[in-house]
């Protein structure tokens, strides 16, 4: 793919002294009807020049946050500032933000060129001057040859580029993207994902990108904000979210993790241990040691789990392992996804590398032991109460 989103050089991008695109949300609450909340007491700081992904299932409030930053919704309570100044009460056009809508919202009655020039027209810039600038912007997204087309005559990918050009011509300090890739087919989605990332790197402005797709967030974001039912579950780097999820919900939602729950055992000197209701023993990291008797949940990455055949007759299960029967194996290219039935509500999944699988293959019905090393146990901030794992989605691409 030789075509890239932007052909212009970095110097053409922006003057050196640019207004800060730091976004701060303080105790932001939005309620559409009394007693129910779209988002509740959100506190979030998105640094200037950050690529931030708001991630969560539909209805979690991520789009509401985006729309409040843009000024299309007004918070019921709380404060929103951009670059250190409150933007509450400012109309959308005066916030220094530009929004790319999920539907792109290209004006169907205007040509591509007039769509891109719309902002300049509203600012009273002369026709030939705004056409010149709009053409320059279209050249940057490599669509100048389509400038006389109507939006309905463009493909989805082309429409998206026009929407992007129309947003960028406002010279924003914050670009807000509402599910920008969801309308594209798989091939185009991966390509545009890369182009969005390089565009953000080049422009250096803040991007806030709403998505319900975990791989998209992990691939793009400097800051991933995982949301559920109007609240932030975790806001951290993609690596931290994926490797060290804060809550059972995040662990399950991001996929790639097994969540196990048990009670902390009373022990004098050794490592703290958990005992699950099934009688399995899991060692915990030495510190911080939770109080004895507390219910604690841990996460173990699927790819840290090793499988071995297990003879269930009389053989007890050692610590840091559980036994179960293989429900299914799925070939994923570089690894095998092995799903185990361990008698819990959620299946236990091990991602076994193709070499390890070849050394000791397992098939559905086999009784196996799934084990891991104690240092791969990650303690979650709250116990799994069983209600947090509903929107379980797989991250396999």
């Amino acid at each position: 793919m030789t075509e890239t989103l932007l052909t212009a050089t970095r110097t053409a991008a922006r003057p050196a002294a640019r207004a800060s695109g730091e976004i701060r949300l303080i105790d932001v609450t939005k309620s559409f009807s009394p007693g129910s909340y779209a988002v509740r007491e959100i506190n979030l700081t998105i640094p200037d020049g950050c690529y931030c992904c708001l991630l969560g299932p539909s209805g979690c409030g991520k789009t509401t946050i985006l729309r409040m930053i843009a000024g299309h919704e007004t918070p019921t309570a709380g404060e929103i500032s951009i670059g250190g100044h409150s933007v509450l009460g400012l109309p959308p056009g005066r916030r220094g933000t530009a929004m790319m809508f999920q539907s792109y919202a290209l004006f169907p009655h205007l040509s591509v060129l007039d769509n891109v020039a719309f902002y300049l027209k509203m600012r009273g810039i002369r026709r030939d001057e705004r056409r010149r600038q709009a053409r320059a912007m279209l050249e940057r997204v490599q669509l100048d040859h389509l400038r006389d087309r109507m939006p309905a005559q463009l493909s989805g990918g082309q429409q998206q580029r026009v929407a992007l050009a129309r947003s960028l011509i406002t010279n924003p300090r914050v670009l807000l993207l509402d599910e920008p890739l969801s309308a594209l087919d798989e091939f185009l989605r991966l390509r545009m994902r890369g182009e969005l990332k390089s565009l953000q790197t080049e422009l250096g402005i803040t991007f806030v990108h709403v998505t319900h797709t975990q791989p998209e967030a992990i691939a793009l974001a400097d800051l991933v904000v995982v949301m559920e039912t109007g609240q932030i579950e975790q806001a951290a780097s993609a690596a931290a979210i994926f490797d060290r999820p804060a809550t059972p919900y995040v662990a399950r939602f991001m996929g790639g993790q097994n969540v196990l729950t048990g009670r902390v055992m009373q022990l004098a000197d050794a490592r703290p241990r958990l005992e699950s209701s099934e009688g399995w023993i899991f060692e915990l990291p030495a510190a911080p040691a939770p109080p004895a008797g507390a219910t604690v949940s841990v996460a173990i990455r699927r790819d840290r789990v090793a499988l071995s055949r297990h003879d269930s007759r009389g053989n007890s299960v050692p610590p840091n392992a559980i036994a179960g029967s293989v429900e299914a194996t799925e070939y994923q290219g570089s690894y095998f996804k092995v799903t185990l039935n361990v008698g819990m509500k959620h299946a236990f999944v091990a991602n076994v590398s193709d070499t390890a699988f070849a050394a000791e293959p397992v098939a559905a019905g086999d009784v196996v032991l799934a084990s891991w090393r104690a240092e791969h146990v990650h303690v979650l901030s709250r116990p799994d109460l069983g209600d947090a794992g509903v929107p379980y989605l797989d991250t396999t691409e």
Partner: protein, 275 residues
């Protein structure tokens, strides 16, 4: 769709026959009328057509005791135009008002729509009685205008509902995002997008008024509109001039539809050509 055997189910033939009947009842009379309007001077009111001529068309323009067609037209046309303008203005603004749920909006909507159910003749009598009571004369530009609006406004509002229901609110949000104020958003984005719908409302307003009979019957006063004049002629005159008149008015209606559709196409073309 295409069955492997190539045979169509019996419902296909039943529904095709029904559609054929529909076409026959819609266009059969119009075509008969069209042909018979060219009846010769010695011809009768029905087939066969003898010595085709334009004599009955001439009779429309030069009335010889056939009624005041030109006079009726000179009232029907401005009445239809006024109804069209008012329907357009009120339906469009009311349609926008209904986009936001306000207190009592459902009740207001049903009150408006109810006039579609009210029998036209009854309404006509009622309006006449009301005007008498108020001591006002019944005129085509007064009582008849009101009667027509009671008929066209619910239609106009319903059309605007469907037009605005399809208007994605993100167009307006995008306009606000790009620095357009309320008025510029309406002028530069919303109106152009819904313009075809507005033209449809106008067309409905015009045609519903132009050929409205029951609601005009008692409300037009002493001077007839065109449908009333045709009705009067039917009861007095029995000559093919009625057919000629029918052909001309039908042609006029088709001409209006063509103008409306043509203007939509022209607007689209001018937009894409305006560089």
């Amino acid at each position: 769709m295409a069955l492997a055997s190539g045979r169509r189910p019996w419902t296909f033939y039943a529904l095709s026959a029904f559609f054929a009947l529909f076409v026959l009842f819609l266009y059969g009379p119009m075509i008969s009328l069209l042909i018979l309007s060219f009846q010769g001077p010695s011809g009768a009111l029905d087939f066969p057509l003898r010595h085709p001529s334009f004599i009955w068309f001439r009779a429309i323009v030069h009335p010889t005791g056939n009624g005041d067609i030109i006079g009726a037209f000179s009232r029907s046309l401005p009445l239809a135009l006024i109804v069209m303008m008012l329907t357009m203005l009120i339906s469009v603004t009311a349609g926008f008002a209904f986009r936001r749920r306000f207190h009592g909006s459902a009740l207001l909507f049903y009150l408006t729509i109810a006039s579609l159910i009210a029998p036209g003749l009854v309404l006509s009598i009622g309006i006449l009685v009301m005007f008498r009571f108020l001591g006002l004369p019944a005129t085509w530009y007064g009582s008849a205008l009101g009667a027509h609006l009671s008929w066209t406004l619910p239609f106009g509002l319903l059309i605007m509902f469907s037009v605005l229901g399809r208007l994605d609110p993100s167009y307006e949000e995008a306009a606000h995002d790009l620095g357009a104020g309320r008025w510029r958003t309406v002028r530069d984005v919303v109106l152009p997008i819904v313009l075809p719908g507005i033209i449809a409302v106008a067309l409905f307003g015009f045609t519903l008024s132009y050929d409205e009979f029951p609601r005009t019957w008692l409300t037009a006063g002493t001077k007839n509109t065109l449908p009333l004049e045709i009705w009067t002629m039917l009861t007095n005159v029995t000559s093919p001039v009625l057919y000629a008149l029918g052909t001309v008015t039908t042609g006029f209606s088709f001409f209006l539809i063509a103008v409306a559709l043509g203007s939509i196409v022209l607007i689209r073309r001018r937009r894409s050509a305006r560089r």
